[in-house]
């Protein structure tokens, strides 16, 4: 049987490298204006995440992580981007470009969030003895950057992309803090995500019909001060 050997320290370098790439894609998504480019970045992020999970599985010798990696690959690299592509084609918003206000400020806030995540996860880094413990800060940062993206964006599709990026961060956190949650939970989360994908798909159409555009800015009817 063919077996592939790799020194563990090389693999762990690759792990931190992939973590850095995940962070980079998260920043890229924060400022990417074109919807298509955004989906491409999201796909890359999913790929890095999946590779990362597989490498962690290899280093830690945890075979159930291979299954999670496969799950990520099929869901976040293949299925979700595919669904998004179809939605975008149906909604005819392929070429839509969003204006993002104040890119430098967003970037600076993003950097601040990375530092914050580093500090928040400091106690865990000290307690953990896993090789992946340092990537936990990156995972939390990815969650926070997804959150930031949801706040700064004013387009339904891009808000959802932020949501998905956040989900990626959570998955990443589970991998780096504890070598993954038990498979029952991971499958359940994936199921919820899939269901969410169908729901936001329906939503896009509902919003598009009701507001004639997918910009969320018009959704300001239900304000408190009337």
């Amino acid at each position: 049987m063919f077996k592939f050997y790799m020194p563990v320290n090389v693999a762990s370098h690759i792990i931190s490298f992939l973590a850095a790439l995940v962070l980079l894609t998260a920043f890229g998504m924060l400022v990417q204006k074109r919807i298509y480019g955004l989906i491409r970045l999201f796909t890359w992020q999913g790929l890095f995440l999946s590779l990362n999970t597989a490498f962690v599985g290899y280093v830690a010798n945890k075979h159930h992580l291979y299954i999670s990696a496969l799950l990520t690959l099929s869901l976040k690299v293949i299925l979700l981007p595919y669904i998004l592509h179809i939605l975008i084609q149906r909604l005819k918003i392929r070429k839509e470009v969003e204006t993002i206000v104040n890119v430098p400020m967003t970037m600076l806030i993003g950097i601040a969030l990375v530092i914050l995540s580093y500090h928040l996860t400091a106690p865990i880094r000290e307690l953990s003895n896993l090789t992946t413990r340092s990537t936990l800060a990156v995972a939390l940062a990815t969650v926070m950057l997804g959150l930031l993206m949801m706040i700064t964006r004013k387009h339904a599709v891009t808000e959802i992309m932020g949501f998905l990026a956040m989900e990626n961060g959570l998955f990443f956190a589970a991998t780096s803090a504890t070598y993954g949650m038990p498979l029952v939970v991971e499958f359940g989360v994936a199921f919820d995500l899939l269901m969410a994908a169908f729901i936001f798909g329906i939503f896009f159409f509902q919003i598009n019909t009701a507001f004639d555009s997918l910009s969320v800015e018009q959704m300001a009817r239900l304000k408190e001060d009337d």
Binding site: I111, V114, T135
Partner: protein, 314 residues
């Protein structure tokens, strides 16, 4: 006293001064090939410089001493930087006098005086070029320092020679922080040396030129010195990048026999970097001036991410 370091120092500065035009010639040649034109050959820059040196200087009416002084100063700072950045060897007597931050400052002095000279003569183009140059500088320098700090942190020193030494002694690995810093460095180097997509070195189109606008009034010897300094700057940036990220080939401490080998490797590196520069310049169009903030912002972000991931991941 051991004469060896002094000899190396001399040799290195000579290499810089002599090889820099050839490198620019190489880049131009490659570019001609890429665009399907016949090139003027590797040695055309030498011929240009020779021609300029043989011409008279034409000074603008209201030029002050700054205008006349600047070419020598710019040339001088480049030569001095060439004495500090390890090109052939890390046994440089000048190296302990200045670290990488000083080198950035040296480049900044050169730029500062070029900008002053651009404004000195009071023409519209000169002032426009100066203001643009300063805008780029204000964005590029923080990013540059951030990238350099990351490398310095990773190698526990700000001295270039020492950095090379550390990289030699330890096992070098794929580090996320260094790769971010490298990416940032490439972006900044493009901006600092006035290459596409930031500036076009071969344009005299008034709306887009930056560096050329500042030196529009220079002629003869002065222009030759400034052009030469510009070539050296490109050369030095390539060498600095090499020293920070891929120093292999530079002669280690006290190894005199490695010098010829280092020369060959340097020439090879320059050849490869020429290809890289040309492929970047052919693949990209020049950016609008107002998009430069985004370009340099990305460089700053990358450099900062590099530094953060040094703390988080390394």
């Amino acid at each position: 006293m051991n004469p060896y370091p002094l000899i190396v120092e001399m040799l290195q500065i000579a290499t810089l001064i002599v090889l820099a035009p050839a490198f620019v010639g190489w880049v131009r040649t490659l570019k001609c090939w890429a665009q399907g034109r016949t090139s003027a050959g590797l040695f055309q820059p030498y011929r240009d410089l020779d021609k300029l040196f043989s011409k008279d200087i034409l000074l603008p009416e209201n030029a002050s001493w700054i205008f006349r002084f600047t070419p020598y100063l710019v040339f001088g700072t480049m030569v001095l930087a060439g004495g500090i950045i390890p090109i052939l060897s890390i046994d440089l007597p000048l190296a302990p006098t200045a670290d990488v931050i000083v080198i950035v400052a040296l480049f900044a002095i050169g730029r500062f005086f070029t900008a002053l000279a651009g404004m000195d003569i009071g023409t519209a183009f000169g002032g426009m070029g100066s203001s643009r140059e300063m805008m780029i500088a204000s964005l590029a320098e923080p990013a540059m320092l951030m990238a350099i700090f990351t490398v310095s942190l990773a190698n526990k020193s700000t001295s270039l020679s020492q950095i090379v030494h550390v990289i030699y002694s330890g096992q070098s690995v794929l580090r996320p922080s260094l790769s971010f810093a490298l990416l940032a460095f490439i972006l900044i180097a493009l901006a600092e040396t006035g290459r596409i997509p930031v500036d076009n070195p071969s344009t005299h189109l008034e709306l887009t030129m930056i560096h050329e606008a500042m030196i529009l009034e220079y002629s003869g010897r002065h222009l030759a010195l400034i052009e030469w300094a510009g070539m050296m700057k490109l050369f030095l940036f390539v060498m600095m990048g090499m020293a920070l990220f891929a120093p292999w080939g530079i002669a280690p401490r006290g190894d005199i026999a490695a010098i010829p080998y280092a020369l060959v490797i340097t020439a090879l590196k320059l050849g490869v970097m020429g290809i890289v520069i040309v492929s970047i310049e052919t693949g990209l169009a020049k950016m609008r001036l107002f998009r430069l903030t985004e370009f340099l912002g990305a460089a700053f972000l990358l450099a900062t991410l590099g530094m953060l991931s040094y703390f988080i991941l390394d």
